[in-house]
């Protein structure tokens, strides 16, 4: 049998200890952090230690026509690492070295298995930060977050992962190893291949080394919590703050459903009777932070909001506790939590929040909405029970409507989670038939045998494995 032969070949390359075939282990790699996705057992789990080994594994996969599913910590929210067609799960967790921190050029070079937080802890010693901060940063790997192009809480001011990736080493579908980009700020040499692979979700190549940009750590910050009697005032404050030329590092919103759930669960002292709250944090040079904080306060008050500012780090933690409790609190209310990330231009944030409330009412579902209001990236969170098939049917319809609403407002399917399996079928809605065909052509050009993360991102016509 060819699988048995493939496993023998893999053992010859990686050693017995880095090739796992026990069902007890493989079952733990049949899923990731995405709710409501089908599971599938891989045939084998491999853990290479070097780019050479990654390339050899890909060659074995080609030889035996086995799919390859690259995986970091498996914390993505799009079904991106589910080995839906079996084959090889390729874990990059043992390639986890920070190869260089270069404080003169403000860059770091890392292997894909480095945990985001580990990188931040390391560069903090140089007074630098790596800004992308997805909620999973304590567990997620650099390789995974570059492949998924993760966002985070600081997206409004600092952008997302792609804004910090300067260079990549990638193993292609035929086992070739290529490098693009580098340490220079300016680089317009040929096509922007770094951006092509950033956010490619493991469908075009396997990232084996990453050069990232670092920035100086902000010297000061000021955190404020504002509560509003209605959604429109909250939405107007978001716009008003930006129109006053203040770009906060973080501007998070929480709707009433989320607030009530958080308060019942964590008792963090959220204002009762409010329809929405905003958590705003400005950071930078102390003088600027003071001025910006005053502007934020003025805009909120003008819009009828009430402001509570943190006097010190302890009070800051208290204000943040509510935001951090949002997802856990929602998640504990029902067994299944469907977390989406439909995103709209920030001028439409109020319309989107109202649309979500309306969809929740029409489909008789509990939907909490919270998220990164400043960049229009909301997290409508549907609380349900996967075991109840009638309710799940309504959930699927509601999700369809949420995406339709976001697209109608000039938004996008995904602000930061990616497409994966979860949203592949919606892709034509945003790209159109011709757009999807272009994606397919890119995929076919780079991975003609369709062995890299098959079943993801591209909706159909991706060849057979």
């Amino acid at each position: 049998m060819s699988l048995t032969k493939a496993i023998l070949d893999l053992r010859a390359i990686l050693g017995k200890e880095n090739v796992v075939t026990a069902k007890e282990d493989l079952l733990c790699y049949s899923f990731d952090a995405t709710a409501g996705m089908p599971e599938h057992l891989p045939d084998v789990l491999v853990t290479p230690l070097s780019v050479k080994q990654v390339a050899e594994v890909v060659k074995v996969a080609n030889r035996y026509k086995l799919p390859v599913y690259p995986r970091g910590s498996g914390t993505n929210l799009s079904g991106g690492t589910v080995p839906i067609r079996g084959g090889i799960v390729l874990s990059l967790l043992k390639m986890n070295k920070i190869l260089e921190v270069d404080p003169e050029n403000f860059v770091a070079i890392v292997q894909p298995g480095v945990i985001i937080q580990t990188l931040n802890t390391t560069v903090a010693a140089y007074g630098l930060i790596y800004p992308p901060d997805p909620g999973s940063m304590a567990t997620a790997t650099m390789g995974g977050s570059v492949a998924e192009c993760s966002g985070g809480l600081r997206g409004l001011k600092y952008g997302v992962t792609r804004d910090y990736v300067m260079g990549l080493e990638v193993v292609l579908a035929n086992g070739d190893v290529v490098r693009f980009g580098g340490k220079t700020v300016k680089n317009v040499t040929a096509y922007d291949m770094v951006r092509l692979f950033t956010g490619s979700e493991g469908t075009l190549g396997i990232i084996t080394e990453i050069i990232v940009r670092l920035i100086p750590a902000p010297e000061a910050r000021k955190t404020m919590l504002a509560s509003f009697k209605d959604l429109t005032s909250a939405g107007n404050s978001i716009l008003g703050i930006i129109q006053s030329k203040v770009i906060p590092a973080t501007m998070e919103i929480m709707d009433r459903v989320t607030m009530e759930t958080v308060e019942n669960h964590a008792h963090v002292g959220l204002p009762t009777g409010a329809e929405a709250i905003l958590l705003v944090e400005v950071d930078g040079i102390p003088e600027v932070v003071r001025r910006e904080a005053a502007t934020v306060r003025k805009v909120i008050t003008r819009n009828g909001g009430t402001v509570k500012a943190a006097a010190d780090d302890r009070e800051r933690d208290q204000l943040w506790a509510a935001r951090r409790a949002a997802l856990p609190a929602l998640a504990q209310k029902r067994p299944t939590t469907i977390l989406e990330d439909a995103t709209v231009p920030r001028s439409k944030i109020t319309d989107m929040l109202l649309a979500i409330q309306d969809i929740g009412r029409r489909y008789k579902l509990t939907i909490g909405a919270f998220g990164h209001a400043g960049d229009g990236n909301l997290h409508p969170t549907i609380l349900t029970d996967a075991r109840d098939s009638e309710e799940m049917e309504r959930v699927h319809q509601a999700v369809d409507e949420i995406f339709k609403a976001a697209l109608a407002m000039g938004g996008t399917l995904s602000g930061e989670h990616g497409i994966g399996m979860a949203k592949a079928r919606y892709l034509p809605w945003e790209f159109g038939e011709k757009g999807v065909q272009l994606l397919q052509k890119i995929k076919e050009a780079l991975d003609p045998g369709c062995i890299l993360n098959p079943g993801k991102l591209i909706p159909r016509g991706e060849g057979q494995v």
């Binding site: 026990a22 079952l27 733990c28 990731d32 952090a33 067994p335």
Partner: protein
């Protein structure tokens, strides 16, 4: 039916896992292996497979449910899943399906039969020269692989167990309270000085102490390894023994033993006629020594003499996350004049001992310990204070092997020293 008897009792816990993977950051075992089958998220999936019949018992599957049982995942889980319950229930299910492995059977027989255990410990204490040789840093190293790693440094067993050294009743005239002291195995056989210190701290806090000689192992090693029937017998025997004493409290000096009385017996004897209620009553009056002398019978702070020592504190998992005793040991340490207390960076991270886990997974256990020792070395403390005999054994092993030249004491010993 409790989760020890029926895996389906934890079905809600299993479905509540949202698979976010946050447990990866907290789990000391996963940090060493990087394998999804050694972290809570993966194991909960395996437990579901057992529950639905998707997977049947195999020795390999049973092994996947073994871990440090340090509860770090519980503390970090955003969904509040009681992961320890899922794992203990799964281990019990594995033993029901596949039987007790030979080594664990032997352990069960020894722990159940206290006389046999006494004899075993005594024989080992006397015959130690045959099997163990002195280690240059103190303690003993095995001469032959006896189920112990050859490099491991173990403390000598006490030639006479603590319970054989003391009277069963240590009354204090005009005492405010009467308690029973449950010594636990390590404080009886290996660290009698801890037990003496507990009695001293209690009596000096105006508390009479009973030390029933009939007591035996609390059964935690059996529950943790899924051997439920024997553990249940031991629970009954302890409920019988301690319920009849007319005591105000049951005091332990080990978080693991404390949890047996506080939680495990209640679950094991849930619905058992004549036992369920008494187990709950006993649970309500079970205290760790640190908790008891801080909150129930406060020690006399005016009596404390100066102890000049630079110390740090390692929080045992079952004492901190298990019994919730986190502030009291630090309060005791801070109250003693002269003690220079430098906290660890991660005081509540597991030391890696985890009882029988360290026998079966010594390499992983030692790697976890090394991280703890780095933290300890960073404080510059000469003495590590902790509240658990197993943590102490682990720390002493590493300190000897790494040549760190530090001492380890139980919180009660430092308190007793300051009260002397």
């Amino acid at each position: 039916m409790s989760h020890y008897h029926d895996l389906s009792a934890v079905e809600e816990q299993i479905t509540s896992c949202m698979r976010c993977g946050n447990c990866q950051a907290a789990c000391p075992y996963y940090r060493e292996t990087g394998s999804e089958s050694s972290v809570a998220r993966g194991r909960i999936r395996l437990a579901r497979a057992v529950l639905t019949g998707e997977l049947k018992y195999t020795p390999a599957l049973a092994e996947r449910f073994e871990c440090l049982t340090c509860y770090a995942c519980n503390a970090t889980c955003p969904c509040g899943v009681k992961i320890d319950k899922v794992l203990l229930a799964a281990r019990a299910a594995m033993v029901r399906e596949g039987g007790t492995p030979a080594l664990k059977k032997l352990m069960a027989i020894a722990l159940k039969n206290q006389r046999l255990l006494d004899l075993g410990f005594k024989t080992t204490a006397r015959a130690k020269g045959l099997f163990l040789k002195p280690h240059p840093a103190g303690g003993l190293s095995p001469r032959f692989p006896l189920g112990l790693e050859l490099r491991r440094v173990v403390p000598p067993l006490s030639p006479k167990p603590f319970r054989g050294q003391v009277r069963e009743s240590v009354p204090v005239p005009g005492a405010g309270k009467k308690v029973a002291f449950f010594t636990g195995c390590l404080n009886n056989y290996v660290y009698p000085s801890t037990s003496h210190a507990v009695v001293e701290a209690l009596t000096k806090s105006n508390v009479s102490v009973l030390i029933p000689r009939e007591q035996h192992c609390c059964g935690a090693p059996l529950v943790i390894n899924g051997v439920i029937d024997v553990a249940e017998e031991m629970a009954r025997s302890h409920v019988d023994l301690f319920s009849g004493l007319g005591i105000d409290a049951l005091v332990v000096a080990c978080g693991t033993c404390g949890e047996s009385f506080k939680r495990k017996y209640v679950d094991l004897l849930d619905g058992a006629p004549g036992y369920a209620n008494r187990a709950r009553e006993l649970a309500a009056k079970t205290y760790d020594i640190g908790d008891f002398v801080c909150n129930v019978a406060p020690f006399d702070r005016k009596r404390l003499r100066e102890v000049a020592m630079k110390v740090t504190y390692h929080e045992p998992c079952h004492l901190g996350r298990g019994l919730g005793v986190t502030a009291e040991p630090v309060e005791i340490i801070r109250s003693i004049p002269g003690l220079d207390f430098i906290p660890l960076k991660e005081p509540n991270r597991c030391c890696g001992n985890a009882g029988s886990f360290s026998f079966t997974h010594y390499d992983v256990s030692y790697n976890i310990l090394k991280r703890k020792l780095t933290d300890v070395a960073g404080t510059g403390a000469e003495t590590v204070i902790t509240g658990c005999g197993a943590c102490r054994m682990q720390l002493e092993d590493g300190i000897a092997q790494e040549g760190l030249g530090k001492k380890v004491f139980h919180t009660a010993e430092i308190l007793a020293l300051a009260l002397r």
